[in-house]
């Protein structure tokens, strides 16, 4: 994804920022169809735990993934801020429950750090974005929103490691600005 973006020669990318737990994530705005209020999904028997079920969105049946469960964060009750982001993937449309959708931003190429450790092709993280002294985890929805659990653990530990490194790098910078 990072490569496609860099090759396209765009100077900046349009992102939607959302919150899950303490971290902020971002996906390209082009992949988000719409953002809707929470609905109660219909449970699917024997589905992985992070699959909340399916909802009816104007006649379309859309599977819903709980972002907290997918990222293996502590599960809390939904709040007024909670939303479902309807995300269009190549072959299907999937809803992602997030704690909050905060804003739409433009992020310049120079503010995107490619993932520091070598990621294999199936990893959903494609970079860390710096935006107003915040760190955004840039997620490739196509790779992130799948229904298999096994890979996630490995990817997740990588992501937290990357984030830690990025923060360490970012820290002195923040100080100098101050």
């Amino acid at each position: 994804m990072i490569n496609e973006f860099l090759e396209s020669g765009q100077k900046e990318i349009h992102l939607i920022v959302f919150k899950l737990g303490t971290e902020e994530y971002a996906v390209p705005i082009t992949s988000v169809q719409e953002i809707i209020m929470l609905l109660i999904p219909t449970r699917i028997p024997k589905a992985p735990t992070f699959v909340e079920g399916v909802i009816n969105l104007r006649g379309h049946i859309i599977p819903i993934i709980d972002g907290r469960k997918k990222f293996q964060l502590e599960v809390t009750a939904s709040t007024n801020e909670s939303r479902i982001m309807i995300i269009e993937l190549e072959n299907e449309t999937i809803g992602l429950i997030v704690d909050a959708v905060s804003e739409v931003i433009h992020l310049g190429t120079e503010d995107i750090e490619p993932p520091p450790i070598d990621m294999d092709d199936s990893d959903f993280l494609w970079g860390v974005g710096k935006f107003q002294e915040r760190l955004l985890i840039l997620v490739d929805p196509q790779k992130f929103l799948n229904f298999n659990e096994t890979k996630d653990l490995k990817s997740l530990s990588k992501v937290s490691e990357i984030l830690k490194q990025a923060k360490e790098l970012n820290q002195p910078e923040v100080k100098t600005v101050k």
């Binding site: 699917i44 028997p45 399916v54």
Partner: protein, 691 residues
């Protein structure tokens, strides 16, 4: 010019044309002399050439152009159709199909060495036949006169002219055939009015003809004088001048002009035909030649009449329409429910009216989804031809009921399983001619493909009169493979034994040879069919043949479902799988081998607790209350599912849900309920299999 917008159209039409080409080539193979078929093929090649050149697909254009070059002498009769040419044409067809497929996939390349090879092969096919049949005379087959020429001839006759046909043959090794031909034409022009030549004057002057050519002349001179004049020209081998009767040609020329005939003229012709028909009746029955002519003309008229107007519609738009109609049906259900609560006469009346209209719309839209099964069947004649040649078996393919309509979704899905079944039949079911004669059967094997409606289902049968399958052998193999025990095998009925071939793991290459091959990938066939909501059955008699029956629901989109509740969750069960609903008190439930069963009319019925199977949360069972058991039936097996509550019957639109979410196959889709919530559809087949 922006061509992309025409691409879809181009692809559709090309597919249609290739299909036509396929059919015509198959026909040509059985009657290589038929001019009408050759003309059809030529027309298709020509259309393809025109379209593809416009679209810039020069590969397709070149190939079809060269096909035309081969077909032209065939049409004119100067070269006879032979097996070699037909097989090259088939190769071209395959290549064209591949090219079109590439275009669809967007991987079209303008350079393809295979085409160059094919083109040279095409050219070679002609050369070799040239040697065999170079002495062939041009036949009159495709010489036709247009209306202008006909009136010309008619008028000339009235003024005392005669129409003559002059056939000129040049000597072998004529150095300048063009010049000789030119001289002949010049000489004849002085003797009368030259109305037509075959080939055309330009082609004659360029020497583009086989040894002989035809000239049509209006003249007052007699035949001998004409031949004398031509004989004076050197290098002429033979001149044949004969009177020429326009009426003989009329029939043929009519056909040629047919395309341009306006409606009135068609009517006139019908009248004419009717008159001739009456004439025929008055004549003696021996006069068959006229009868056949009349027959063919009548057929032509029929085909003119039967042409129905159609429009092409983008498949996506159709899907959207289906979706919206589905929503409309659901909304209607909601309004009906609401009107019951409100109890207003006026509202009930209006809702009733609207209900009628929506039902009509729904019916029409559902019919739009239906396409003739011919779209699946039409590739089989070719398949059977190829395989039976490969195996050197003599097989007659009979297709019945190709007009039977099935859902568009099924068309895409059912092709592969059918190919599988047909391959099996050809490969292992049907014997070689020698074996068949030994077995006291006719040397030609029959493979029959049938499609017909039965109730709400569509049945597709693949029957062969081959050697059939031996249940004992199947049992023995299943025991050997450890699928059943020897004891089980003994008590097993023949029917159950045959069903073993559908079991996964039964089919391997080794089994295939041991067991005369049946069962290759039959489990794949079965799973495909059951994913479409259908069933597969098998009947086989040793020595007499095998029949495999696929039963599919005729309508994939809207179906009647029973809504049930398990705990707090709502599920839908397709009604066509439900045989009855019964209440059973808890003490009637017995246990056999740790499985719950009840006895229903003398038969044991295994029970399924849906709450366990589907991990329904917060499920509380009232021990006092009798159990509600829905008896489901599929493929001759029954079981009872225990539900908490019945909610009623409803028309539902099944929508697919991501396959990767249907764990263990218990769920086959989802529906939206009147209140906007989603309910899942149970896959009855999976529930039964897991007994």
């Amino acid at each position: 010019m922006e061509l992309d917008q025409y691409l879809g159209l181009f692809i559709d039409e090309s597919k249609e044309n290739l299909q036509k080409l396929n059919e015509s080539l198959l026909k040509l193979e059985s009657s290589p002399e038929d001019l009408e078929i050759l003309n059809d093929i030529f027309r298709v090649a020509h259309t393809l050439k025109g379209m593809s050149k416009t679209m810039g697909f020069n590969n397709v254009g070149d190939l079809t152009h060269n096909m035309e070059n081969v077909l032209d002498p065939l049409r004119s009769g100067s070269v006879k159709t032979n097996d070699k040419i037909i097989s090259v044409l088939f190769k071209c067809l395959d290549k064209l199909e591949e090219l079109i497929k590439n275009i669809i996939d967007g991987i079209y390349e303008d350079k393809d060495s295979a085409i160059v090879d094919l083109v040279s092969e095409l050219k070679n096919s002609l050369i070799s036949t040239d040697e065999q049949s170079s002495v062939e005379k041009p036949t009159k087959g495709d010489i036709s006169f247009n209306e202008y020429e006909l009136t010309l001839i008619d008028n000339a006759k009235d003024q005392g002219f005669r129409a003559v046909e002059v056939q000129v043959t040049l000597v072998n090794g004529c150095v300048l055939p063009g010049v000789r031909a030119y001289m002949v034409v010049k000489a004849l022009e002085g003797e009368g009015e030259l109305i037509k030549t075959h080939p055309t004057v330009e082609e004659l002057e360029n020497g583009e003809f086989e040894k002989s050519f035809l000239l049509y002349l209006l003249t007052t001179n007699d035949n001998d004088r004409l031949s004398e004049i031509i004989d004076k020209i050197s290098e002429i081998e033979k001149v044949n001048v004969s009177d020429f009767d326009v009426n003989n040609m009329q029939q043929e020329s009519k056909e040629e002009v047919k395309k341009e005939i306006k409606k009135e003229e068609v009517k006139e012709e019908v009248k004419k035909v009717l008159v001739t028909e009456r004439d025929v009746e008055e004549r003696t029955p021996e006069d068959t030649s006229t009868v056949t002519v009349v027959d063919s003309v009548v057929k032509q008229q029929m085909s003119v009449k039967n042409v129905q107007q159609t429009i092409r519609v983008n498949a996506n738009k159709m899907d959207k329409l289906m979706n919206l109609v589905g929503e409309l049906v659901i909304s209607r259900t909601r309004i009906v429910q609401y009107s019951h609560e409100v109890r207003s006469d006026e509202l009930t009346c209006l809702v009733g009216l609207m209900g009628g209209i929506t039902t009509d719309i729904q019916e029409i839209v559902m019919k739009l989804r239906m396409v003739p099964i011919d779209q699946v069947f039409n590739r089989f004649p070719r398949l059977v031809r190829d395989i039976s040649r490969e195996l050197s078996k003599d097989i007659n393919l009979k297709i019945t009921g190709k007009d039977t309509e099935i859902d568009r979704v099924v068309v895409d899905e059912i092709g592969d399983p059918l190919v599988h079944l047909i391959r099996n039949s050809l490969d292992h079911g049907l014997e070689t001619p020698e074996e068949r004669i030994k077995g006291g059967k006719s040397s030609k094997g029959t493979l029959e493909l049938l499609a017909f409606n039965e109730g709400d289902n569509i049945l597709i049968k693949v029957c062969d009169d081959g050697k059939g399958m031996d249940p004992e052998k199947i049992k023995a193999l299943a025991v050997k493979k450890g699928m059943i025990t020897a004891e089980q095998a003994k008590s097993m009925s023949d029917k159950d034994a045959l069903d073993l071939i559908f079991a996964p793991g039964f089919s391997t290459a080794k089994v295939a040879t041991d067991l005369s091959g049946r069962g290759v990938g039959m489990d794949v066939v079965k799973s495909k069919v059951s994913s479409l909501g259908g069933t597969v059955g098998i009947l086989s008699k040793v020595g007499e043949g095998t029949t495999i029956t696929i039963s599919l629901p005729s309508n994939m989109a809207i179906l009647q479902a029973l809504l049930i509740k398990v705990g707090h969750e709502t599920y839908a069960t397709p009604l066509n799988y439900i045989s009855e609903v019964i209440d059973v008190s808890t003490d009637q439930v017995k246990r056999i081998q740790n499985k719950e069963v009840i006895v229903l009319r003398g038969k044991t019925l295994p029970l399924v607790r849906l709450n366990n199977l589907l991990d329904v949360p917060n499920y509380v069972e009232d021990a006092e209350k009798p159990l509600t058991v829905v008896v489901i039936k599929s493929q001759g097996k029954c079981s009872g599912i225990i539900v908490s509550e019945l909610l009623g019957q409803q028309e539902v639109v099944i929508k697919p849900i991501s396959k990767s979410l249907c764990y263990e196959d218990y769920i086959s889709g989802a529906i939206t309920l009147g209140n906007g919530q989603v309910a899942l559809v149970l896959n009855v087949n999976a529930l039964i299999v897991n007994m």
